[in-house]
Amino acid sequence: MPPSSHMLDLDLKSTISHHRLAGIWKMMKGFRLRYIGAVTSLGLSALAKTFTFLLLRYFVDTYLIQQDNRIGLPYIALGFVGLAILEGGFTFLSGVLSSQTAEGITRRLRNYLYDHIQHLSFTYHSKTKTGELIERSTSDVDALRRFFSDQATNIGRILMLFIINFVTLLNLNVKLAWVSIIVIPFILAVSIFLFKKVSSAYESYQQQEAILSTTLQENLSGVRVVKAFSRQRYEMEKFEKDNWEKYTRGKKLLIMHSLFWPVSDILCGAQLIAGYLIGAMMAINGEISVGTYLAYSGLVIYIIYPLRNLGRIIVQTSTGLVSYSRVMDIIKEKREPLDQGDYTPQSNLRGDFAFLNVGFEYEPGDQTLADINFSVKPGQVIALLGSTGSGKSTLVHLLPRFYEYTSGKILLDGVELNRYPRKFLRQQIGIVEQEPFLFSRTIRENITYGVGREVSDEEVEQAARAAAIHDVILSFQEGYQTIVGERGVTLSGGQKQRVTIARTLLKNPRILILDDSTSSVDTETEAEIREALWNLMRNRTTFIIAHRIQSVADADLILVMDKGRIIQHGRHADLINQTGVYREIFNIQARIEDELEKELASAG
């Protein structure tokens, strides 16, 4: 029976709780019946096992010793088979139910986390380490899955086995029952003690494994350096040291491991012998029947041995709980509401902006942007010029509401920006990044990524042509179906940029943000990208983050920024006639040409 969609849509925020175990119980919502069913089935299966021993007792006492033939041999034999089928059937049912529980909860958790992460704010993502976030959403979720599939049911199983068999023993003989559990506290204590040791030895072993991997990885990726200095011997010695250390730590871990089993074997064995001795004496004295003794000697094993696993499970559960907290830390974070906003125009935006005294602080007190005032008409090009950290990027990130301005007002088409839902704004704004990010999918999928509608091949090719990337794509064996990234073709920086331009063309936004960095590509590609960009900017309000003065000369408005403020603004023609940073930069340009002339002349 497949889990209903209702069960998959639980808002996990509602499961946040002060107490971790309570939180886990809440997280099991929708699967609790299955979980209880799984544990109950285990109980029933244990009960069937117990009845097998009782049947054995009947067989020995009544059939063999008292020679009572009322129930014939075939029926007793069938009874054994029947009980085995019951036992096996319930074991199987429990396995099915517990895996549905664990896998179902994990599936819901994964879906929720995935969606949650893509809805967390820009601020959260910029302050969180990527590796940490990936680690939590994969390894920690997996540890939690193991908790549900293994530890949660196993604790139930062991307790069930103990209770059922102990009650049966009490019914067989009270004295014998109590004698049989004397050693249990010791077994628990020893197993918890040793497994804690094992865990810490294991951790140190794992750490060394990580060190060894790093050494290996660095050697492999630095193979040219190793060869260039012919340091093979040195590398071998270094690896040998780490390798040997892992071997030594492995041995330590091993000693802990190999101690646990014999020590607990001796404890359990002593308990068994004591039980057998007392039981046998009672049987000889006639206090219990031979069949009872037989049933006892079988049952007692199912009380003692499962309990030595309990220690291991308890230690493992504590790691599961740590993972739970680490996952919940992410879930506790606030989502960025994409639909929040009361103004959604029916038609496309015109793209006219007014910034009135806009300011922004990441954290109270640090002024990243202040006193930003300017206005833009639809279709104009605005260039932002300034050093790293001058606030250019932050300013354009206010437009799609990646960040919310903290003072002043931004009007878009006459309406305050924060009244537009984020989703709508982001549909209307296209961004071409300085370091373009492609997904490891086909080129076609990368171009149509985020368009949100079916796109014909003609349209894709048209966009690729306008972005001057069509020919490059065709030069690959698989054409548009070529997979990019680690598992496929590696594209150069310029090629990646043109793929993102094609993607943005296809999206056809009203407003554009370009992070214009062509510094990393050679002159030929730069010309091609420039052409592609012109195609893109036609009829769109465009914000360009510029790094060099050549790319701003044609802009309708140039904003020169420094320390979060606009220090100069105007058109190129106006700015070169003012004293200020802009003119200085421009003058340098002229000086460069002069110097070049001189340099070449000196040679000739």
Binding site: F59, L64, L73, F80, V81, A84, I85, G88, T91, V96, S99, E103, R107, Y114, D115, I117, Q118, L120, F122, H125, T214, T215, L216, Q217, L220, S221, R224, V225, V226, F229, E235, M236, E240, N243, W244, K246, L254, I255, H257, G269, Y276, A283, I284, L338, S387, T388, F402, K423, E433, F437, G450, R503, D522, T523, R548, V581, I588, I592, E593, L596
Partner: protein, 607 residues
Amino acid sequence: MPDNYFDEEEFETRFNGKTLSRILKLTVPHIKWVIGFLLTIAIVAGLDSIGTYLVKMVIDNGILAGDRTAVIKVLIMYGVLIFVQSGSTFLFIYLAGILGERIRYDLRKKMFNHLQALSLNYYSKTPVGWIMARVTSDSERVADLVTWGLVDSTWGLMSIVTSMVFMVAINWKLALIVLALLPVLFIIATYFQRWILASYRAVRKTNSKIVGAFNENITGVKVIKALGREPENLDEFKAITEKMYHSSFRAAWLSALFLPTVQIISALAVAAVVWYGGGQAKIGALTVGGIQAFVSYITFMMWPIQDLARVFAEMQQAIASAERMFSLIDSEPQIQDRPKAIDPGTIKGDIIFDHVTFRYEKDEKPVLNDFSLHVRRGETIALVGPTGGGKSTIINLLCRFYEPESGRIYIGGRDYTTLSLQSIQSRIGVVLQTPHLFSGSITENLRYGRLDASMEEIISATKVIGAYDFIMHFEKGFDTEVGEGGGLLSVGQKQLLSLARAVLANPEVFVMDEATSSVDTLTEALIQKGMQALLDTTTSFIIAHRLSTIKKADRILVIEDGRIAEMGTHTELLRIHGKYHQLYTQQFRSQLETAYNPFQQAATASD
């Protein structure tokens, strides 16, 4: 080698006796441990069966006979048995475990050392991840086979055999019934284990997709937000987790079905014992204790069967692992010392490329075609030209990372293939564009250049290239940790350190491949000044974008399509108004732009 050779993480292979015996040979150096754990595990298994027999004796000789001393005697024997067994348990876990660790250690060492000898062509066509997997997970799997695999199968076989012996001793006719069931159990168990392994493989495959999806979702979150693609992403992800749910569920119910199936079949055997044995007991051919012992032996039998089946199924994977590992160990280095290769003591002298042709892959067109060049001792040669023109290939051949396909290279008057690799490579100082540092301190990284360098020598090398100041800016100075792959330093700083490392090596030939591309202009000028003495005395090859570096070279070579397009000094080349002129004009302009850009300067200052 099939196309998907590097893709397929876990493929199975047909049973291969040769590989298996090669795997078993790995244990030969540690045969003491092998004998030790095989012996102890056999003892453990044998004692298990005896224990069950002792329990029978408690019933038959003790309780039914009403003999208290017999009970005590038997139980004392049982106690001794448990002690011996516990001791053996400790020994077999410890010995098998230590053998496992040792074999892992041996395999890793063998592979690592062999990897050091392999040539660059092996590395260029083998992904690092693939090699890592061989050294880490494959060695693990093979070691598991020769330790726990052996332990489990010895224990399983021994348990079955000794149980059978006791059963035959108690009642041979009944024992035959049980014996008949064994093959059935074993076949069923083997099939199950295979299905279970295959289904877990499917789970792992889907799991790596989930990890990949999270990875992209997190690293690409900015783009996803900008494009508003959250809903589609979630739909795609839900499809993966749905698949994950189904494959995990399949794996789980298959595993859950296995034990009950075996249990039910064992129950048939128990029923047979009761049916037949009940009749026998009536006529006195079977005791109560005997029946109890039979029931115990049969119920217990499913564990060894399960273990044997699992080992059998896992063995195929381990053999596949071993085959890949052995393929690594067996691959021959493409470039090795020729027999009678010599170390001439020095490689100072002219360097001659004599009609050299070279290609990286057989079916590609040559990167260098009939290339000839005579470099005089002490000359500084600058190589310029478009990416892919062949500049780096010239360097690769010079350092003998690769050897010419045809033609010869002479160093100091000798064909360099007559020299040992060590004698050439230890005397050429190479600085690469992507500087590679190792985890450890700055000192340790610099000392890589010369292992016995004194602290004074290290300091003076960093002063030569102008790295001393930034190093002293760190709180811990030369003891600063550079992080994994040098990750805690900027690219520019890494380049300076790798330059200093090469200077420290005191090379006779110096090679710089875009060695200073990421340092600022001012530092570049300092490096120039500091290194002038070194460049004057050694034969040097420089690939650079920086004009100041190139301008001072004795000769500039414009390399295009694997040939020398233009050659001469800076002034000569500018005069002919050819490719160099064009290149120079372009770079001069952009270099000045960067140099004069006040924003750029502001950015560097704030770093």
